[in-house]
């Protein structure tokens, strides 16, 4: 799929004809790699897209890192939340819809439990390529028909892909002429993909080129080693786009088999936001899913082993900086400790400029431009990760500081003052989380996909408000053992570079 590069929770910048990728690079004071100010987690990129490489951009989505958080201010203001309509289609697909006529446009996404964690290790990359090839040929439509058909009406077909989820999304003008044409193409892409042999051969070559490129990038090397160390044999360890050896083996049969098994009507979630009526939304949900395969649900994922042995890998790299990752399995999306961990992490390393890690590492000592921590809440516990980049000579100093900051946070928890500040930011910032159609669409999708209650938004501020210091400390202690963490340093200081310690 062609991927929408916008972080769904960031401000989308739909620039009319594209600006030059090479002009006007801008530098921000805070990280562009902004820690999860907006959501509880953010994406890891299997194939890091680097900047402006127009090359392989279609492959570079991965996680949409958002993972919603909802609040409504209990004490001061009650913020209006969108009215979510919800139903199930005849084929068992879950549908969430918000009607809004402010802008003459429509956003739709269809999500399926067909992410990279459903790959077999020896065929790692099948899930990603299945998703990638959906819009490169469908019944009655060549890849160029699909691309031209969408472009002719100014519609945008996009998608996202991560360990859990494969999504296809559409943004179109809502007038019938554009809408109907766009939905017709989307329906065929989702339900009648062809996986043409010649296109698979071509795209495999492109994926392999991108994987080889990624293998030279410190951030990609670190990410891959980190997930291996944290998840071991669990499929969350698999690189989301596969690796060179496994992708080479992938056949058309692998893709069509994966498609039949995982693109099931019963597992699909349709999110719809915008300028249409309820009857129209019902018809659209039907049109997009009625012809999906009706296969049985696949076996559930194995459990993530929560306790891992402490490890430290130092991987040589010629970069001037060391890329450091520290972490362990964290929490699942439905963890009862979700709120204490989310709020706690905001204080530790998720709250941007005012977080402890940012304060210790950047503000006080100038050791890094970007430093963060996050939980990636997935179906199963995703990673809890701390990361930073710093020049080689001071990598060990920075690593000790990060470890010390984490250990102290886990031992003592946050202060009352820190907790209050975090709550003020999360609750007070609630309206910014739902101030655009794009953001609301993404929330609908997450609520549906992870079976969150429909009242999730309405409840959220209260849940945040209720978190206390003891809960944060207890939840962190139960989930994170600072003595049992995986550490990866790519571009490690010269004298110590080598292999696994």
């Amino acid at each position: 799929m062609h991927i929408n590069p916008n972080n769904p929770l960031e401000n989308s910048t739909p620039t009319p004809p594209p600006a030059s990728p090479l002009k006007g690079r801008e530098y921000a004071a805070a990280s562009d790699f902004q820690p999860p100010l907006q959501g509880e987690g953010w994406g890891r990129d299997g194939l890091n897209s680097a900047n402006g490489q127009s090359g392989i951009k279609t492959l570079h989505k991965r996680l949409f890192g958002l993972l919603v958080v909802w609040l409504s201010l209990s004490v001061t203001t009650a913020f209006a939340t969108p009215n979510i309509q919800h139903w199930q289609s005849a084929g068992g697909t879950k549908v969430l819809f918000v009607e809004n006529h402010d802008i003459p446009m429509l956003d739709v996404s269809v999500s399926l439990p067909a992410g990279s964690s459903f790959d077999a290790a020896e065929k790692s990359g099948v899930a990603g390529l299945t998703h990638h090839l959906l819009d490169l040929g469908a019944e009655g439509l060549s890849e160029d028909d699909i691309a031209r058909g969408m472009a002719d009406i100014g519609a945008q077909l996009g998608g996202s892909f991560d360990q859990d989820r494969a999504s296809v999304s559409l943004r179109t003008l809502s007038s019938a002429a554009q809408r109907d044409k766009a939905l017709d193409i989307m329906a065929r892409v989702l339900q009648r993909p062809l996986f043409p042999e010649a296109i698979l051969v071509r795209e495999k070559t492109r994926v392999i080129a991108a994987l080889k490129e990624a293998e030279t990038k410190p951030e990609s090397i670190a990410d891959k080693a980190f997930h291996k160390a944290v998840f071991g044999m669990h499929p969350y360890a698999l690189p989301v786009s596969g690796d060179v050896a496994s992708v080479e083996k992938i056949t058309v049969q692998d893709l069509s088999g994966f498609y039949r098994a995982h693109y099931r009507a019963g597992g699909a979630v349709v999110a719809i936001m915008g300028d249409i009526t309820r009857p129209q939304a019902e018809a659209i949900a039907q049109q997009l899913t009625e012809k999906l395969p009706s296969s049985d649900a696949p076996a559930a994922l194995p459990e993530v082993a929560m306790h891992i042995p402490a490890s430290e890998q130092r991987i040589a790299h010629p970069a001037s900086q060391s890329h450091i990752l520290v972490g362990a399995p964290g929490m699942a999306r439905n963890d009862p400790d979700y709120f204490p961990l989310y709020v706690g992490n905001h204080i530790l390393g998720g709250g941007g400029f005012v977080s402890r890690l940012m304060n210790e590492v950047r503000e006080k000592r100038g050791l890094a431009y970007s430093v963060y921590s996050y939980f990636m809440p997935l179906k199963q516990p995703g990673a809890f990760q701390l990361g930073l980049q710093t020049k080689k000579e001071q990598a060990d100093e920075a690593l000790q500081l990060v470890r010390h900051t984490l250990a102290e946070f886990i031992a003592k928890g946050p202060t009352e003052k820190e907790l209050l500040a975090a709550k003020q930011n999360i609750i007070g910032g609630f309206p910014l989380r739902i101030d655009s159609n794009r953001k609301i669409l993404d929330y609908l999708s997450i609520i549906g996909f992870y079976d969150l209650p429909l009242t999730y938004l309405d409840d959220f501020t209260r849940r945040v408000e209720q978190v206390n210091v003891a809960q944060v400390r207890d939840a962190f202690r139960r989930h994170i053992d600072p003595q049992a963490m995986a550490t990866v340093i790519v571009g490690a200081p010269e004298e110590k570079s080598g292999q696994v310690k």
Binding site: P17, L22, A29, Q53, G55, D144, A209, T216, F353, R362
Partner: protein, 453 residues
Amino acid sequence: MRAYLFCITLLLGGVQTAAQAEVFERTLANGLKVIVKEDHRAPVVVQQIWYKAGSMDERTGVTGIAHVLEHLMFKGTHTVPAGEFSRRISAAGGRENAFTSYDYTAYFQQLHKSKLPLAMELEADRMRNLNLTAADFAREIKVVMEERRLRTDDEAHALLQEKMMATIYQQHPYRHPIIGWMSDLESLTVGDAKAWYDRWYAPNNATLVIGGDVKASEVFALAQRHYGAIPRRAMPPRRNFIEPRQAGIKRMVVKAPAELPHLVMSYHAPTLQNPAQDWQPYALQILAGVLDGNESARLNKHLVREQQVASGAGAGYDLTSRGPSLFTLEATPSEGRTVNDVEAALRGEIAQLVRDGVSEEELQRVKAQVVAGEVYKLDSLFYQAMQIGQMESIGLTHRAIPVILEKLQAVTAEQVRQAAEAILQDDSLTVAVLDPQPLSGKPKAPQGAAHAH
């Protein structure tokens, strides 16, 4: 008050929308221009302040100072201690950041609409009262150096870009990177930061853009209260650099750790000077769209899908900037192909363009995206405010925005062909090549040699 109403519906031929773009402006007595974009969809507000001072205003030897000062603007004032700005914005539920470009420096906060007075109070305070200390400077310059290592020194494509700009421009300050040369960062002092701040941070060198669920009249009153007392200051004259005409093709190679080679072709190109009169910049913008504006555009279709000479290809052009512009084409060769192959393929596309022009169908497709993009942009308040701030900061006004939209719609196929013929000339071309180096530092097999699968 000078108010003006720009109704997107007019441009879209009767499409009705509740999110009409209402823009109001007023200039305070001290020269601060305040522009308000009302948008009542959500109870939020964005404040952006844009200073007409970017890296292009720097002098040799102090490159990077615009961006360093941007970092230091978060370090505190005489009444708001270091770190307190961010703490107060955070406690108000806000998000904040800043960015520096060649042309300008801008700061922003996004918050609930009730918090606009707080954001204004803090932003106005640091326009005049920044407390620059040697200790803060010493720490922050280290952060900036880390930023440079992360985003340029260790990023092959960014390095290629930086060195290419230094090759393309002989005199114009666009030849210096926004983040600054490392040796300049190493020698900058707090005095340089102070001088930069005193020279450029004044109300008469800034544009304040407020967007969101606000009333323009109330915003103007608020702006007057918080910013109105800051005195206007004399601005130093700006040097207007005219880049000497390039007299022949330039070629360059950058070696850096990477797997894939990459090639960029950059042609000098004009920018928009008179939005109502010009035609060539619009034609170039449409041309970029024909080449790379959508998945079915020429470069992707021809080079990546059909010829399979490239694993990726792109084109780009900025029609608005303070300085000169570039029209760029770029591509990554696919496995077994070389940078020479992709250059030949890109030149083939240019030759075809100049010979046969573009089809009416392609033209309409790009225009359809321009029209749709104008609707989609209504979903992002931040982007709309940003567009206004950019236009004001580069010397056009926000009134040019609807004009540009209209003029893009009016571009003809023949204009696109003529613009391609006029601009895509070898004598004003720079070809930059990334020559990928193995991580081990050992030499690689010669380019184009067969790779084992």
